[in-house]
C-alpha cells in the first residue's frame, strides 16, 4: 500500500473514531438529556463520518487498488496525490471549525471548495486508471 493511501486510510480511521464518539454522545444525550449543547456537535459528526471516514477511506483504497499505468509512475504524479490528501483534510477542518464561529463566515465555503478541488485532483489522477485489460 502506497504512502498516500496509508495516510488517507489512517486519517479516515481517526475520523471514524472521533465521529463515532461524537455520535455516541449525541445519542446518549437523546436518551438522558444531560446537556442540550451536545446537539451542536451534530454537523461535525456528519462531516467527520461522511467526508472524513466514508469518502476519505474510499478515495484512499481506490488510489491504492485501481489498475496502474506501466512504468515507474504507476499511479500518476505522487506529489499531486499528496496535495489531494492535504486539500481534502484542510476542507474537512475548515467546514467543521466554521460551524462554531471559529472562522469567518466564508470558512465553510473555502472548506467546501478545498474538498471539491481535492476530488477534482482525485478524478484527474484516476480517470485513465478506470479501464479494461482487454483493450
Amino acid at each position: 500500500m502506497v504512502f498516500q493511501s496509508r495516510l488517507m486510510i489512517r486519517l479516515a480511521l481517526m475520523y471514524f473514531l472521533i465521529g463515532s464518539t461524537l455520535g455516541g454522545l449525541i445519542l446518549t444525550n437523546k436518551a438522558y438529556h444531560f446537556d442540550s449543547s451536545l446537539w451542536e456537535l451534530l454537523p461535525v459528526h456528519i462531516e467527520f463520518m461522511i467526508f472524513g471516514w466514508i469518502i476519505q477511506f474510499t478515495l484512499g483504497v481506490a488510489y491504492w487498488i485501481l489498475p496502474r499505468f506501466f512504468g515507474e509512475d504507476g499511479r500518476g504524479k505522487t506529489w499531486l496525490a499528496t496535495i489531494m490528501v492535504l486539500l481534502f483534510n484542510l476542507g474537512i477542518w475548515l467546514v467543521a471549525s466554521s460551524q462554531y464561529g471559529l472562522l469567518p463566515e466564508k470558512g465553510a465555503l473555502i472548506g467546501r471548495i478545498s474538498e471539491a478541488a481535492a476530488v477534482a485532483i482525485f478524478i484527474s489522477l484516476h480517470w485513465k486508471r478506470v479501464l479494461t485489460y482487454n483493450r
Binding site: 480511521l13 473514531l17 455520535g23 454522545l25 445519542l27 463520518m49 466514508i54
Partner: protein
C-alpha cells in the same frame, strides 16, 4: 445488505404523509450509512487488506467478530428503541444508551483490527516472512 433494504423501505415509508415521524429520518440515515456503507467497507477491508491471518477462527479474527457483533447489536437496538425514547420509559432510554456504547465500541474494535494491517508493500512482505 439487509440494512440497505431496510433503509430503502424506511425511505419509501417516509414519503407517505401518514408516516412522517421525525424519528424515521435518523434511522434511515444510520441504517444506510452505518448498517450498509460502513459495514461493507469494514467487511471488504478485513478481507482485502494485507496481513490477514488466512486460518479462520474466532480467536484469529476476534476483533473483527467483536466489531461485527457490536455494530449490528447496537444498530438493531437503536432501531428498536429510538422511536420509543420520547416516552418517559427508562428501559428504552437505557437500551438506547447501550446501543450508543456498542456502536462506538464497534468502531474501536474495527480500528484495533485494521490499523496494524495498513502496511506498505515492504512491511507487508516482511510480515509475511515473519509469519512463515
Amino acid at each position: 445488505m439487509i440494512f440497505f433494504v431496510l433503509s430503502l423501505i424506511t425511505g419509501v415509508i417516509m414519503q407517505f404523509e401518514e408516516f412522517t415521524f421525525p424519528v424515521l429520518l435518523p434511522l434511515f440515515w444510520h441504517m444506510l450509512m452505518l448498517g450498509w456503507i460502513t459495514q461493507i467497507i469494514m467487511g471488504l477491508s478485513l478481507w482485502m487488506f494485507p496481513g490477514r491471518k488466512t486460518e479462520e477462527s474466532f480467536r484469529n479474527q476476534i476483533f473483527a467478530w467483536l466489531a461485527f457483533s457490536c455494530l449490528n447489536t447496537g444498530l438493531i437496538l437503536r432501531v428498536i428503541t429510538e422511536p420509543f425514547v420520547t416516552y418517559q420509559n427508562t428501559f428504552f432510554k437505557a437500551l438506547l444508551a447501550v446501543s450508543a456504547v456498542l456502536q462506538v465500541l464497534a468502531a474501536v474494535f474495527y480500528i484495533i483490527e485494521i490499523w496494524p494491517r495498513v502496511l506498505s508493500k515492504k512491511q507487508s512482505i516482511q510480515k509475511r516472512k515473519e509469519a512463515r
